[in-house]
């Protein structure tokens, strides 16, 4: 059964909204609705946000609710977690998720595991958000994709939006959710504008956590992607359409829980699967999706699963090398053609 929300975004959209504004409005509305929600991180206040996501929030809510922290990821993340133990709802912004590695002890050990360790006594309604993955020319220590690492951890919910609608709906859901949520944004997408419907702009709009979206319906092959790669997959699909290959693009939206039902349902329809991600190949998101499909829909596969990932190297700096280290639209086109040309039954 198709999710009606996938049809909604194609209705007469009067407005366009950038992902940046979508995130800003989501945080703004949730902070207005619930005084227990607060934002903390480096440069979120007076600087208006390292990437201007929190623009205007300090002026609106004051320094008690929009906290500029010292450069102490471990310390302030732990403080956020501790305040969430007894009912506050912090949004912890990491300038990039690479910096969150200094705080990963608290994300995993104090936030993710606490509800389980305390047998349900103490839940941690916290959101960890920030840009994830490669940007442009920021080199190895600023370009890692953390979806796979966080996605393997029980006790965390991991989300990754693509469009403005995703950004608004998923962030609002994450803030209201009583469990720790890792919210992986993308710096390149911040400035990109998407059409948004009236429902998306409503202050009560939320998207379900754990549900993927079929961005483009198709019949010949399923392509899964999240975040920036969804855009690339859609462009690749347009190119392939001209060559007679009809691609179904799934925007994962939720890395954990992964929407295995939607993915498998799609593969049972198209019989071919290509997974796309920017992160490293070993133990990546594509590996998990491939296994899920092999476990549940093996008999429906007409060809082996194709996995497109970032190169198995730390991100190089030189622009031409960087381009080779992350998937490009041509790579997706090539992989889809490969998946479609191999056949068990001569299709």
């Amino acid at each position: 059964m198709q999710s009606p929300s996938s049809l909604r975004s194609f209705c007469a959209a009067a407005k366009e909204m950038t992902v940046r504004d979508a995130l800003n409005s989501a945080i703004d509305e949730e902070m207005s609705a619930d005084s227990k929600v607060y934002l903390m991180g480096e440069e979120v206040g007076e600087y208006q946000g390292a990437y201007k996501i929190s623009k205007g929030l300090l002026q609106k809510f004051g320094p008690d609710r929009v906290l500029d922290t010292p450069i102490t990821e471990a310390g302030f993340t732990g403080i956020g977690v501790g305040s969430a133990f007894y009912g506050l709802k912090p949004i912890v912004e990491f300038m990039t998720f690479n910096f969150a590695m200094q705080a990963i002890d608290h994300i995993i050990n104090s936030a993710a595991k606490t509800n389980y360790m305390s047998a349900g006594q103490i839940s941690v309604p916290i959101v960890f958000r920030g840009p994830n993955g490669a940007a442009a020319g920021v080199a190895a220590q600023h370009s890692q994709c953390f979806a796979a690492w966080y996605g393997s951890c029980p006790g965390l919910k991991v989300l990754s939006p693509y469009s403005a609608e995703d950004a608004r709906g998923l962030l609002k859901a994450a803030i209201r959710d009583p469990d720790p949520v890792v919210f992986l944004e993308n710096e390149i997408l911040y400035g990109e504008a998407f059409p948004v419907s009236a429902e998306v702009l409503d202050p009560s709009f939320v998207l379900p956590i754990g549900k993927a979206k079929i961005e483009r319906e198709g019949t010949d092959v399923t392509v899964t992607a999240f975040s920036k790669m969804v855009g690339y997959a859609l462009k690749a699909a347009e190119i392939l359409e001209k060559e007679g290959i009809n691609v179904e693009v799934i925007n994962l939206r939720s890395i954990r829980p992964l929407d295995r039902a939607t993915i498998n349902q799609s593969v049972r329809k198209t019989n071919r699967l290509v997974t796309v991600e920017e992160g490293w190949p070993q133990h990546g998101i594509g590996a998990e999706i491939c296994t899920s499909v092999v476990e549940e829909s093996f008999d429906y596969l007409d060809a082996p699963v194709e996995r497109i990932t970032g190169a198995d190297v730390p991100m190089p700096y030189a622009a031409n090398l960087e381009r080779m280290a992350v998937p490009q639209i041509e790579d997706i086109v090539r992989a889809v053609k490969r998946a479609c040309s191999r056949s068990a039954r001569g299709k």
């Binding site: 999710s3 009606p4 929300s5 005084s35 227990k36 607060y38 008690d64 609710r65 010292p70 102490t72 471990a74 310390g75 302030f76 993340t77 732990g78 403080i79 977690v81 501790g82 305040s83 133990f85 007894y86 009912g87 506050l88 002890d105 608290h106 050990n109 104090s110 606490t114 509800n115 389980y116 360790m117 305390s118 047998a119 349900g120 006594q121 103490i122 839940s123 309604p125 006790g155 919910k157 709906g169 859901a173 994450a174 209201r176 959710d177 009583p178 469990d179 009236a198 429902e199 409503d202 202050p203 009560s204 709009f205 939320v206 998207l207 379900p208 956590i209 754990g210 549900k211 939720s254």
Partner: protein
């Protein structure tokens, strides 16, 4: 203090009999610090501990039965057997844990103090004055998170007391071999808060310092760093052969046993007599025996418990209690939807 000592001695016995397993870190010798501080607190105040948390839990009011059952891994434990010795949590008693990594509890405790301040200033609740006490050891005082939190607690004037239980040893690493400036109390003023050194083997001295620090925090004057000189009579954990500490050092501190010292003081000042002390000992023995019997008789967690409590809301927000997506509620754009 007597409860703490008897309880921990019983833990050792139970461990060697195989009833308890994994990592168990006993508190013998340090009872004055826990009692001295925690007994100054109100029920709404918070305590955050480390893996050496049994006695902090008992001092804060967690029943001995619940702690013993947790150690045996039974379903009647304070965390239903899911936490164990190192992860005692009690929402009801304000016990924030129970952390295995040293230094991990300090930011969490600072967060609980932050919550008090937030409640007063943003949520405008004048009655919010809960104070947080963070217990940790000498080894932790070289860890980055400790300094990060001293900075932020002083910067934001948080109602927290940082209590260092300096027992001179971090497993087998002597404090003096690991620390450039061994006087930990000196690090408080470097961050803008008072740094106090107290004899952690004397419960009355600890209490005097504690009362002042708690009052200071509750008034809103900010954090305090208290270094308690104390000693653990047993090894780091029950698996530690404890070969590196010199017998002379152990004898020196054994002579300063906080329980013996307090008993002596009480008798000499005529506040109690021998029979009173014996009846306390007897009562405590009964409590501890009862805790063991209760834990023994309690059931193991059911198999279904394995997958429980990973999330507070497993379906994730966005899916309503009736299983439908909340955004499909027709009342959504009317702004009347139940979210």
């Amino acid at each position: 203090m007597v409860l703490g000592r008897s309880f921990e001695d019983m833990c050792a016995q139970m461990y060697y009999r195989g009833k308890m397993f994994g990592f168990v870190h006993l508190y013998n010798g340090q009872e004055a610090v826990s009692t001295g501080f925690v007994k100054c607190l109100k029920p709404e105040d918070y305590v955050c501990s480390t893996y050496r948390d049994h006695v902090h839990a008992l001092s804060k009011g967690v029943p001995a039965r619940a702690v013993m059952s947790e150690l045996f891994g039974k379903a009647t434990g304070i965390c239903r057997g899911q936490g164990g010795s190192m992860h005692m949590f009690s929402k009801e008693h304000g016990l924030l844990g129970g952390f295995a990594f040293i230094g991990e509890g300090i930011p969490v405790a600072t967060g609980a103090a932050f919550k008090t301040k937030y409640e007063r200033e943003v949520l405008k609740n004048d009655k919010a004055d809960a104070v947080t006490v963070a217990f940790f050891g000498d080894g932790t005082c070289n860890n980055g998170q400790f300094f990060e939190c001293l900075n932020m607690a002083a910067l934001w004037k948080l109602p927290i007391i940082f209590v260092v239980e300096n027992n001179l040893w971090a497993i087998g690493m002597s404090h003096y071999r690991a620390t450039s400036v061994p006087e930990i109390w000196k690090k408080g003023p470097a961050f803008g808060m008072p740094g106090i050194h107290v004899d952690g083997m004397d419960v009355l001295k600890v209490r005097e310092v504690a009362l002042e620090a708690v009052a200071r925090a509750r008034r809103g004057d900010g954090p305090t760093l208290v270094e308690c000189e104390t000693y653990r009579f047993r090894g780091h954990s029950l698996a530690d052969p404890d070969e590196l500490r010199k017998p002379a050092e152990k004898a020196h501190y054994a002579a300063r046993d906080p329980i013996i010292a307090l008993k002596k003081y009480l008798l000499e000042s005529g506040l109690v007599d021998e029979t009173d002390l014996r009846s306390i000992d007897k009562k405590i023995d009964e409590i501890v025996e009862d805790a063991v019997e209760f834990a023994d008789a309690s059931p193991l967690p059911p198999r279904s418990q394995l997958l429980e409590n990973v999330f507070a809301d497993p379906k994730g927000f966005g899916i309503g209690p009736d299983g439908k997506y909340r955004c499909e509620d027709p009342a959504f754009t009317a702004g009347t939807a139940q979210v």
